[in-house]
Amino acid sequence: TEALEEAVSLLQHHDAITGTEKQHVACDYHRRLHRGLKYAQAVVTSALEALIRGQDRPGRDTGGVAPDSITLDSSTGSDAYVAASQRVLQEQPNPIDAPITLEICDWLNITACNTTVHLSSAGKGFMVAAYNPLGWSREVPLRAPVSSSTACAWAVTGPENEAVTAQLLPASPSTHDLQQLLAGVNATCPTTFGDAEVAFVARLPPLGYSTFFVQPASGACAGRGSIQSNAQDASLQTDVDNAVD
């Protein structure tokens, strides 16, 4: 947590929030905030990796899933929640028993990713771990960048190995423009740019995570035309509604 303090103090400074500073000061804020962000990402990804591997609890029987609902009263407070969470955690199977290195994409909102996992180009698919910081379960749309040159259809599998309805969308022209802008001013940072996104609705447990697997779908391409025309091919009809928290 020591590594996070620099970012916290800067995020509270009035000039850093409002933009009432000179350009070179803004750039200094930018540099410091970026460094704090990288520290924070390392903390968060290592915690998520530990949850997925079940390393922070005895055995390998955990799935990082908190209870769906727990009744609290003033006499028990948060201790009851923690205890109940641990009971639930210990009841979850862990389907993954392999080394996992998680990374965070800085530019998901422009369909770009600066991780060593080349989401767009490797063609082997990738795993998405989605952590829900809220205390209630939710269904939330997620979008991940992919390349249409790798595959014209993609399939998404949920944490219970169930098919999740997915849709392939072409990146918008403004997103392409922003990718070129980013490439121009940030040429030294390896980044993969997707020309499309896979969108799917993820069901996430409260204060917990779910993992999803995005992979090229075999045999689904009728042709190599526009991505938009293949959007229906990428859809798997199994619904997420029956997913288990």
Partner: protein
């Protein structure tokens, strides 16, 4: 050939006017509003002494607009005649803009992509199973070859009969009632009809009438106002060319850090609003719940697929 094209996910329905490319109406279950949204820009006062700005420039601290103009591919402020009129503060609001509209349909998301100019776009989305409307805005680099500072807003116009009242949040907590051109504790002398009605919007603002409430949720702190009944506007991005003489000593004309060339691009901003329409008596719960969900999005991390996936349970 149809005048309207609709997007419908079973919870919400959007109608777009194919002639203008603009939103025409929003329906959520049994609640309907006629509404549109478009991008516009205020010309930043340059601080040269005029009766309107009294020597005060728009800058990092001060919002001192001098005329409102629609963002459109033709009228982004580059023509000399338009520039002259705008310098004089003449020619506000030249009718509705006409924008390019593209529709993307699928099983998970329905998208309407509107291009107002090559530096200003909106994408409106309906996701499967969700009743809120997501509006992703992208603004920048704001052009300034015409010598005009610009402060870009998104304007939501509806038939909600809110009169002169609207509500904004207090740092994400209670919603506070605002009344246009009015302060509850003193008699206001209105000298800034636009800036004087802007309030902080850290999470939400809404207008309402007897039957319905229309809310805009934000993913970041912004400024907002309701300058007409049923209307809300939110400041998205600013690029001014004069210092406002409040201590910064530079205009608010930010470029990409680390870029040292003369033609470094100005910043681009991209963010999201969620529009929530609900019957007035039931509106607080979805508004407050969705506010939390927009401000606490899931955290995504990526990895290669572990070998065992598919072979284990």
């Amino acid at each position: 050939k149809e005048q309207y094209v609709s997007l419908d996910n079973g919870f919400a329905r959007l109608e777009f006017d194919t002639h203008t490319g603009l939103l025409h109406s929003l329906t959520v279950q049994d609640t309907k509003v006629q509404m549109s949204m478009h991008l516009a820009w205020y010309n930043s006062s340059d601080g040269l002494e005029t009766q309107e700005n009294r020597g005060q420039a728009s800058g990092a601290y001060i919002f001192r607009p001098n005329g409102l103009y629609n963002v459109s591919s033709e009228g982004s402020g580059e023509g000399w005649w338009g520039t002259l009129l705008r310098r004089l503060g003449i020619g506000s609001n030249q009718g509705d803009p006409i924008v390019q509209l593209d529709i993307v349909r699928g099983d998970v998301v329905l998208e309407a992509r509107q291009m107002f100019a090559n530096w200003a776009t909106l994408v409106t989305r309906l996701y499967k199973g969700q009743s809120q409307v997501e509006m992703e805005w992208t603004v920048g680099p704001i052009p300034f070859a015409d010598g005009l500072g610009k402060e870009v807003v998104v304007v939501y116009t509806s038939d909600v009969d809110s009169k002169d009242e609207f509500w904004t949040d207090a740092n994400g907590r209670e919603m506070i009632k605002r009344t246009r051109d009015y302060r509850p504790s003193w008699e206001l002398n209105v000298t800034e009809p636009v800036a004087g009605n802007y309030y902080p919007v850290t999470a939400a603002m809404y207008v309402q009438d007897a039957g319905k409430q229309l809310t805009v949720l934000t993913d970041r702190s912004q400024g907002g106002a309701s300058l007409q009944s049923g209307q809300m506007e939110v400041m998205l991005h600013r690029r001014t060319l004069a210092d406002d003489a409040r201590g910064v000593g530079e205009p608010l004309n930010e470029t990409a850090c680390g870029c040292l060339a003369c033609d470094c691009p100005g910043l681009v901003a991209r963010g999201r609003h969620w529009l929530v329409l609900a019957p007035r008596e039931e509106a607080a719960k979805p508004r407050r719940t969705l506010q939390q969900e927009l401000n606490d999005p899931p955290l995504l991390a990526f990895s290669a697929i572990p070998r065992e996936v598919g072979s284990s349970n």
